[in-house]
Subunit: 203 residues, 4 copies
């Protein structure tokens, strides 16, 4: 079965395609989804010209509309973000703000275009901030119509005030690897259920 | 169809069954769920003797085990909390901490006993704090194995620094009522899907 | 006395200098500080070319170093942000991430260059999210060496799911005006104390 | 000089005085404050009968009024909390809710009785959640009139999904020890400044 599509938005602050811990963990999530027949693509948001704003299209030179097209085609949206100061990155916030526009996109029955989609998260930092990042991103994604499968997030952080990057660890910590696997199993299962049986009109 | 059960934990700080805005909004959620064939019950947590802790049973005099039995029987868990200082109540936090024990409750395939369950939220305060409360509660519930339907939360708050209670408004604000209705439709749909087709073992 | 300087970073998503609620509340804070002899300046961050990153200078075309110079000269730093999805704006997060670089700027005694500075906040949105925005910004500013006076934040938000902008209210709500006044009194008092008697070396 | 007093509220969920990581880190903060002439006392909140509520005195059997007396006598308030699910403990939230009552305690000039006081934090967990705990507690303490010195928090957490307790580490991690020392230096300096020169009336 290769019936499902995933889109991963990598929210590293770094431009230019160099090593990135959030890109690495994001790719690991896509790989785990692929084992369940879900094909995916990663986009590094900072490498595009995404405008600040809360509309679908901020006009000339805004790369968000092209990203949005892929989001609308995807069954699973992955937000992969680094942690800075214990919080998700500004690039992540910028992407979430663009998703705010989806609140205006409803069908004749008042259902958002995001409704049949499942969202998952990959959070990574030198130290501390994963749970809070999950909290903020979960709330923003759920507000804008996404469904969150059980154990929707995978993460890694080091000990307090540590400075090692995830992509310098050499190998994937076992607990993070196991969490990624569970996330993928649950996300694909739920995305298939909702694709076959979308939410009905409220009433 | 009356195949589904809901349990609502009302997390007001007030003991003794008097008027409570979170009890009111919680009841409105249960009523909306009932229209979709989901029977529910509200428990005011502060009126029970729930012990601080992170285990299933903190021993003599702990009322959590009885609440937990009902949670395990429910298909939908509702957390209804007041906002204090822009944050969910301490009673709400106490209940979430007790749910932390569910991380140790897995079947032979490693699946949590909470996995087929859907969680929703009802948040109410004089002013400000609903989105943050949703964020914290979403994260804690998702960590412990619950699935969140699209638009999993309904809420009401007044203008900045206002002091009117939700249960003194006289009538239910239209936007809150509409949000409650959507929440119920989505929660029941998702709970039925997951009851019929639970998450498979990770792999 | 006109011995103190303030810098206000306005974190609206809007470019181009049009009406902005966060600019308005930010200006009201500067006006209140001016009554205590503290001169100030507002910068709309989205109108500058600030690069994503966590260093003092991200290189060619980065406007942050010029903003940073003004921040270093200021005794009081004001962060004025709109709320989107119950959270501070991505532009605000981008500015806070740039402040992260100050953790590397210490004198011979290990004291940060931000140590004698006081930070305050002005938060504004159509609805809900002020307390959480204060929480996140307070933590980030305090982590990077700023001191927070009692009642360091002023804010306004409308009722749940409302859509009126602060700069369309016609007049300033009394409670917000009073809070702004208290903020200014406390910030100036504390900034003078710390300017006269900076934190000693740790020991 | 032994002119200053500190009160530390330890917010472990555990009753009965056994080993507690938050009690240990809290004591280390008090020891560091003592080196600057500030005498302190720790109270384990869960060992008292503190009622849920937001008033100064919830009546018969409520131990908060006695704790509040010590808080009012203290120049520095320390909140020491464990992390559960990435968040401060419910006992911590319960204590913060009781501090909410201080918003009603003003002098003839409208100044809160908490105004000359400085607040600091000690956060500890097996893994992840320190920054978020600092954010929430900072906001609540600042709302209720406390001033936050530069670097107002010390913390320790382990690597992602780790399970070692701080009080089983054997020795204090160097970075946490250094942070505790800086916290104490800054807190005492600021508390002395504000004791000698309290905030003036707003105007």
């Amino acid at each position: 079965m290769s019936d499902l599509k995933a889109l991963g938005l990598v929210c590293t602050l770094k431009r230019g395609g160099g090593p990135s811990s959030s890109a690495l963990l994001g790719q690991q999530v896509l790989d785990a989804l692929a084992e369940h027949g879900c094909k995916g693509e990663l986009i590094r948001v900072a490498d595009r010209q995404v405008a600040f704003g809360v509309s679908k299209d901020e006009g000339d030179g805004d790369d968000w509309p092209a990203i949005r097209e892929k989001m609308l085609e995807a069954d699973i949206l992955l937000i992969a973000t680094p942690i800075w100061m214990g919080q998700p990155s500004s690039v992540c916030k910028m992407a979430l703000e663009r998703l705010d526009a989806e609140l205006g996109e409803t069908d004749d029955e008042g259902r958002l275009s995001t409704y049949p989609k499942v969202a998952v998260m990959a959070i990574v930092g030198n130290e501390d901030g994963a749970h809070h990042s999950v909290a903020e991103i979960s709330q923003a994604l759920n507000d804008t119509g996404f469904t969150l499968p059980a154990n929707a997030a995978t993460y890694w952080v080091g000990e307090a005030m540590a400075s090692t990057d995830y992509n310098d660890l050499g190998s994937t910590p076992e607990k993070t690897a196991g969490t990624t696997k569970t996330l993928a199993t649950n996300a694909v299962h739920l995305a298939r259920l909702l694709k076959d049986a979308p939410y009905p009109a409220a009433g």
